[in-house]
């Protein structure tokens, strides 16, 4: 099946990013970008070095050395909101089985934990409790001083791949195909000791859980390698809805399905999830799908949004969606309400999306008829950013400051709104002129 990728051409009126700055420093793949505050971010990757950058100027603030292997997880560790003097800390976990806490203001290593038996694959900060969790082959709970509060027994070899905080001091951990719910018992006045206990084990996924996100206090969503999307109730951990299978199984026999599954695994695995209050945005293979939680169905999609797998997506406040992919580009989409019904058939579910043959077309048509009464949406490509020469691993949206992308080509690119930058430069120019006092220009 060959479906062409939507292209936009060179004229992109709505694309505000008309200035870029290449930030060099990394010597290997850059995989992680973490925002520290409103103007700083950290980058980390396979070279084991963490860089701190100024997102406004592109200035390299610090170069943090301490890990000997590639970085496996990064997270910001914000100070508790009550705290007066804000300390900006970041946690980094590496394949050298250490976790290091860094001070972003001084660029110094605050502390280093080396007592891990396996590589820490994910880090989560529970800000309410002021503790952080590390997930590897077991789950450990740490306080700010880096005391080990409690830990689980050895889980599996594969270990925890994703962690998410749930209400009532619960934690959902993706361990292979299973989703395990832990409850954290914090120290109270009576008992000084912390504890973490396994509450429930959910085994609904057929394959490894790749993505796990919180939608709101009531809901969280998981996505698996074989394209299952499950919406869970965050309080009682029951399945609220699920979409399983991003291929059209109705048209194929089971044997074909098996083949298809092996062939297209990459194309249907849910690499990344993002959400706002209404919708969950799933990066599925090369495509992007918008799943409406209320309607419990996919309301818009781009089956081939990119030339290759989408690695990361994020929703912007202005109904825009960003996606980056292995093809080295980042695309800006806009979720638009459709006025005419005839424009694009919106499938009722994932099943109808891979159109083969007549039967499918008919199905589509029938589907369309049934949907006529509903509001329809579409994802419109409004711009693409091409700069990296290979896969864009991740991006970070900095609001007005712009956008940061990191890539396999060792580079980080800062994308900026050229108009705004020009304005800012003018502003600083006149400030400088005023500072110089006499407006008599000299170098």
């Amino acid at each position: 099946m060959k479906s062409s990728v939507q292209t936009i051409g060179e004229e992109q009126i709505q694309n505000p990013y008309t200035e870029l700055l290449v930030l060099r420093g990394h010597q290997d793949i850059v995989r992680f970008l973490v925002q520290i505050d409103e103007y700083r971010f950290a980058s980390a990757g396979d070279d084991g070095i963490i860089f701190l950058w100024n997102a406004q100027t592109g200035e390299k603030l610090f170069e943090l050395h301490g890990h000997t292997h590639k970085i496996t997880a990064v997270t910001a560790f914000p100070s508790p909101s009550a705290c007066e003097d804000e300390k900006y800390l970041i946690l980094t976990a590496s394949a050298d089985r250490t976790v290091i806490v860094w001070d972003c203001n001084s660029g110094r290593q605050v502390q280093k934990v080396t007592s891990f038996h396996s590589t820490v694959k994910c880090l989560t900060v529970l800000q309410r409790l002021d503790v952080w969790l590390s997930g590897g082959s077991d789950l450990c709970v740490w306080n700010r001083k880096l005391d080990l509060l409690c830990k689980t027994s050895h889980l599996t070899e594969a270990g925890v791949s994703a962690l998410v905080e749930l209400p009532k001091t619960c934690i959902a951990a993706a361990v292979g195909k299973e989703l395990t719910i832990f409850r954290l018992i914090a120290s109270t006045n009576e008992s000084e000791s912390w504890d973490v206990i396994e509450v429930k084990r959910l085994v609904d996924h057929q394959d490894n859980i790749l993505s796990l996100i919180n939608v709101n206090d009531l809901t969280f969503v998981t996505g698996s390698h074989v394209g299952e999307l499950i919406v869970w109730d965050a309080l009682d951990w029951t399945k609220q809805a699920s979409e399983c299978g991003f291929w059209d199984s109705s048209l194929h026999t089971d044997t074909q399905q098996e083949i298809k599954l092996t062939q297209n695994q990459k194309e249907i695995s849910i690499q990344c999830l993002a959400s706002d209050e209404e919708c969950v945005f799933a990066a599925v293979g090369k495509g992007i799908y918008v799943y409406n939680l209320q309607m419990k169905r996919v309301i818009a999609c781009q089956r081939t949004a990119h030339d290759s797998s989408v690695l990361h997506i994020a929703k912007l406040p202005n109904r825009q969606l960003l996606s980056c992919s292995e093809d080295g580009s980042l695309r800006i989409w806009e979720l638009r309400e459709k006025q005419q019904l005839s424009a694009e058939p919106v499938p009722t579910g994932f099943f109808n999306m891979w159109g083969f043959g007549r039967a499918n077309k008919q199905a589509n048509q029938s589907a369309k008829k049934t949907q006529e009464s509903l509001t329809l949406y579409s994802l419109e490509l409004i711009g693409d950013l091409i700069g990296h020469s290979s896969a864009v691993q991740m991006f970070l949206f900095f609001g007005e400051l712009g956008l940061v992308t990191c890539s396999v080509d060792h580079l980080i690119i800062l994308w900026k709104d050229g108009e705004r930058e020009s304005q800012l430069r003018s502003l600083t120019l006149f400030q400088k002129l005023e500072q110089n006092g006499d407006l008599q220009l000299r170098f």
């Binding site: 060179e10 200035e19 700055l21 990296h388 006149f430």
Partner: protein, 935 residues
């Protein structure tokens, strides 16, 4: 002194000066016509038919006591230079105008012969029969064997253009003074040497005579003196007297520099271009030790002892005795230095006066545009020594006080000139000061800068006299010794700016080289059926050359609008630039003779200099040699020393059409490989902020101009290509043949705005696939079209990044780039231009770009265009105002707006850039569709 009846000399300064200004100007019939041969041809730049020599040259003549006036050498040292011009005759002429040949010998009331330290005299004279005009610089050198110990010499700058001599009088005077001072310094040293030898001889003779007398006394016991003995005694007495005389002379000559220090207008010879200085700029650390006694190490390392000779009682001054040559008189080292300087002078003043003056004005104007210069100008040329900056600043502000105060009273601003650069490294040692002076070195270091400054101040005031006598063939038009007390306004009035020459426009219209019909626009996008018409519209069929020219003049605001204050400052500055330019160029000029083969020279010199320095400082010499080796290593490693490249010592080379070497230039104009490969090595290194951009030298400019001219004639899509460059969109020149690609890159590079003062964003030749970083760094790239295996990745990267680049395919002659419909570029690159010479076109482009820069400057620095006038104002209305300004006030059409915006953005970045940090080049781009143009 031989006097000429038609010579009027202004030897007396003050009275004549004031009279001259009280008097009404001369009636027209008495004044010298501006272009004496203007009637012969309409073009004043054409070769003057009356002249017998093809180009300006420098003549050194001597008034020999044996044969009278005789020419010694010409610079350039070439028989062709003087042509049929009678050097002997002219020598007679110029040597006859020496007013100051002063009495040397026994002045009344003085027991011993007194050396008279004669000032040089500077006159301008003309010989209208010969069609020759000359700046003549008289000087006297000392020679023990000469009559009155003096030998009168003169150096003359001879030109067919009287106007040139008059206009450039100050510069000529300054330059020749330097050369003269160099000669005289060497001469004093040689003279002192000679005296010392003579003293030794005399001493020896005295001893011998004394011994003889003693022997005679012993042999003769009779108690009375024989005639022989009396003779001997007389002889001894005369030797004694001679010794005292000579000792006195020696004392006088040695005390000369010391005495002259007190004189305000003393201008000690400072070899700015001495090898040590050149070294110093490259290797500061090593020179600190090296600088102490450099001259010594050079010249006086090994001194064989002098063996005194017996002097015959009657060393008759006979006429068949051979007089010393100039080399002998001045010490070979100083002589070669002087010749080098004179060569430099010749090169500096080569070309038409109009060009020289325009160049000066140009530089002066450019200096005022400090903010925008980096975009297109050759900053390295404008880069001045820090010392000079101070000086200029000083001249600018306290002008009035300086002028009104007498020079002696003027507080000496010692800080003005960096000591290091002016410190004389040669003279500080060779000439021994008075033995009483404890620390001549220190004195040297502290005083000369002040003097230099004052000298400059004096030139500011110095004035050129209009010609008064125009009687017969020789007219003396002015002397330099005229006006230390001129008031400011007077000196302005005398500056003949209003007569700035107007170009004579050649109105001949040549046929078109390219028919418009051959332009064809192919498109890649589906929505532009209109394009061909639009594109054609950018070639207006009739361009009114004249209005265009007027337009341009109006935009630039040339000299007529300069205020008097500016004028004065400008004059002062431009003169300095001139000096400086010579200096820097001088370094290079010196490089070969003094650096690369310093040793043979050394050997020869050592023999001459006995008696001056008694202890040869061996260790220094070692260090010195080490340095030389290092330096030449540096040169050879680098191939093209980036910093040096810009100092091509020959800025006016191109203008003199009679240049012999021009032919070779034209011959090689087709093979760019040499030039551009040199340039490419430069640009490879260019990101290092240590060197300013080594832009084109003149030759390169000409080449680039020629290629650009060819480009705009050959390629009908030159306009969008140039637009790409001017708007900051990287242009990739793709091709298989390196030479062709590099040629195109060279041609187009004149349109590339620099991103900062230190990086030229041009890459002449790349063979690997391009990357996003390349577009950030380079704005013009020559890219190799490679064979099949690598081709895919290269083309892939080009298509991938196609939104950032315009692609000029040199092989298939296509261009893929955004549409351009503005009016700026057609003016800049008119394929029907009448301009034929590369350098002319280069200058035209430069002037158009300067105009563009000023627009960008206005746009970037207009407060209300970027910031709200009141707080309530919304961004939208500011944007409207901005657009209105660009379109209405600056008259920009369509895409021209983007050019100015881009340049303004560069200006802002440059202005905001903190000095310590390197620029972080942003890549700015637009999402605009590209089109494919074909021939």
């Amino acid at each position: 002194m031989i006097s000429a009846p038609d010579v009027v000399a202004f030897t007396k300064e003050e009275e004549l000066e004031e009279e001259a200004y009280d008097e009404p100007p001369l009636p027209e019939e008495y004044s010298v016509p501006l272009y004496p041969f203007a009637t012969y041809g309409a073009n004043p730049w054409s070769k003057l038919s009356g002249s017998k020599f093809p180009r300006d040259f420098i003549l050194i003549s001597e008034f020999s006591e044996q044969v009278g006036p005789q020419p010694l050498l010409t610079i350039p040292d070439d028989a062709k230079v003087s042509g049929t011009f009678d050097l002997n005759y002219f020598s007679l002429r110029i040597m006859s105008v020496d007013y100051q040949a002063s009495f040397v010998g026994h002045p009344p009331g003085c027991a011993y012969p007194k050396l008279n330290f004669v000032e040089d005299s500077k006159v301008v004279l003309g010989d209208s029969k010969e069609g020759a005009f000359a700046y003549v610089h008289h000087l006297t050198l000392y020679d023990l064997e000469a009559r009155g110990f003096v030998r009168p010499f003169c150096m003359a700058y001879i030109s067919t253009d009287e106007h040139k001599i008059m206009q450039l009088f100050q510069e000529l005077s300054a330059e020749f003074s330097k050369a003269s001072e160099c000669l005289k310094t060497g001469n004093r040293k040689a003279f002192a040497n000679e005296l010392e030898k003579k003293l030794k001889d005399l001493d020896y003779t005295r001893t011998v005579l004394h011994n003889e007398t003693e022997i005679q006394k012993k042999a003769n016991d009779k108690g009375y003196y024989t005639t022989q003995a009396i003779e001997k005694a007389n002889e001894l007495a005369s030797v004694e007297k001679s010794i005292i005389e000579h000792q006195d002379l020696l004392k006088q000559i040695r005390s000369y520099p010391y005495r002259k220090m007190k004189d305000s207008d003393f201008h000690p010879y400072e070899p700015e271009c001495a090898p040590d200085q050149a070294n110093a700029s490259f290797d500061l650390d090593s020179t600190t030790s090296h600088h102490d006694e450099p001259g010594e190490t050079h010249l006086y390392a090994r001194l064989p002892p002098y063996t005194p000779k017996l002097i015959k009682a009657k060393s008759a001054k006979c006429f068949d005795k051979k007089l010393k040559t100039l080399e002998e008189l001045c010490d070979i080292y100083f002589f070669t230095q002087t010749v080098d300087q004179l060569n430099q002078i010749e090169r500096t003043f080569r070309g038409d006066v109009c060009y020289l003056l325009t160049n000066q004005i140009n530089r002066a104007l450019l200096k005022q545009q400090t903010i925008v210069n980096f975009l297109f100008e050759d900053v390295s040329v404008l880069d001045e020594k820090p010392a000079e900056k101070h000086l200029a600043g000083c001249q600018g502000c306290p002008q009035d006080t300086v002028n009104t105060k007498s020079l002696e009273e003027f507080p000496i601003p010692k800080v003005l000139i960096s000591l290091g650069s002016y410190k004389s490294s040669v003279e500080s040692v060779p000439i021994k000061m008075d033995p009483e002076m404890e620390d001549p070195q220190e004195l040297k270091v502290s005083d000369p800068p002040a003097e230099d400054h004052q000298e400059n101040l004096e030139y500011l005031d110095a004035d050129i006299k209009g010609s008064i006598s125009s009687g017969e063939s020789i007219e003396v038009l002015g002397t330099e010794k005229s006006a230390p007390v001129l008031t400011k306004s007077e000196s302005q009035a005398s500056l003949p700016i209003s007569s700035s020459p107007h170009m004579v426009r050649n109105k001949a219209v040549s046929g078109r080289t390219i028919s418009e019909d051959s332009i064809e626009v192919l498109s890649t996008c589906p929505s532009e059926s209109l394009i061909p018409e639009d594109f054609k519209a950018s070639y207006p069929s009739a361009i009114n050359e004249e209005t265009y020219a007027d337009d341009e003049e109006g935009g630039i605001h040339f000299s007529p609008s300069l205020t008097p204050d500016n004028m004065e400052e400008r004059e002062g500055r431009s003169e300095q630039e001139h000096l400086l330019q010579v200096d820097s160029a001088c370094c290079i000029g010196k490089e070969s003779p003094t650096f690369l083969e310093p040793l043979p020279d050394l050997g020869r010199k050592h023999c001459d200099d006995d008696g001056v320095v008694s202890i040869p400082p061996q260790p220094y010499r070692q260090a010195d040699q080490g340095l030389h080796v290092n330096f030449s290593d540096y040169l050879s490693h680098d191939g093209v020393p980036g910093g040096l490249l810009s100092y091509e010592p020959d800025p006016h080379y191109l203008l003199s059409s009679r240049d012999v070497s021009k032919i070779s230039l034209d011959e090689c104009s087709d093979s760019t490989s040499y030039m551009s490969s040199a340039a490419s090595t430069c640009s490879d290194r260019s990101p290092s902020p240590a060197h300013p951009i080594s832009h084109f030298n003149e030759r390169h400019k000409k080449k680039a101009g020629q290629n650009a001219l060819r480009f705009i004639r050959q390629y009908p899509f030159a306009h969008p290509a140039i637009y790409s460059l001017l708007s900051g969109r990287t242009l990739v020149v793709l091709g298989e043949d390196e030479a062709i690609v590099k040629k195109l890159v060279t041609a187009l590079s004149i349109f590339v705005p620099n991103c900062s003062a230190y990086t030229k964003p041009v890459k002449h030749w790349v063979t690997s696939p391009l990357h996003i970083m390349d577009f950030q760094k380079w704005k013009l790239i020559g890219l190799q079209r490679v064979g099949s295996p690598a081709r895919a990745s290269m083309l892939h990267s080009l298509t991938r990044y196609s939104r950032y680049v315009s692609i000029l395919d040199a092989d298939s002659k296509t261009l893929r780039c955004p549409l351009y419909k503005g009016t700026l570029v057609p003016r800049l690159a008119d394929h029907r231009t009448q301009i034929k010479r590369g350098s002319t076109y280069y200058m035209q482009v430069q002037s158009a770009l300067t105009q563009l820069c000023s627009k960008a400057f206005l746009y970037a620095f207009c407060h209300h265009l970027h910031l709200p006038i009141n707080e309530a104002e919304v961004e939208e209305s500011i944007a409207n105002r901005r657009m209105n300004f660009l379109k209405l006030q600056l008259g920009l059409v369509n895409e021209d707006v983007k050019i100015v915006q881009y340049l303004a953005e560069l200006l802002k970045l440059q202005y905001l850039q903190e000095p310590g940090r390197g620029a972080t080049p942003q890549l700015r781009f637009d999402y605009v569709p590209s089109f494919l143009y074909k021939i």
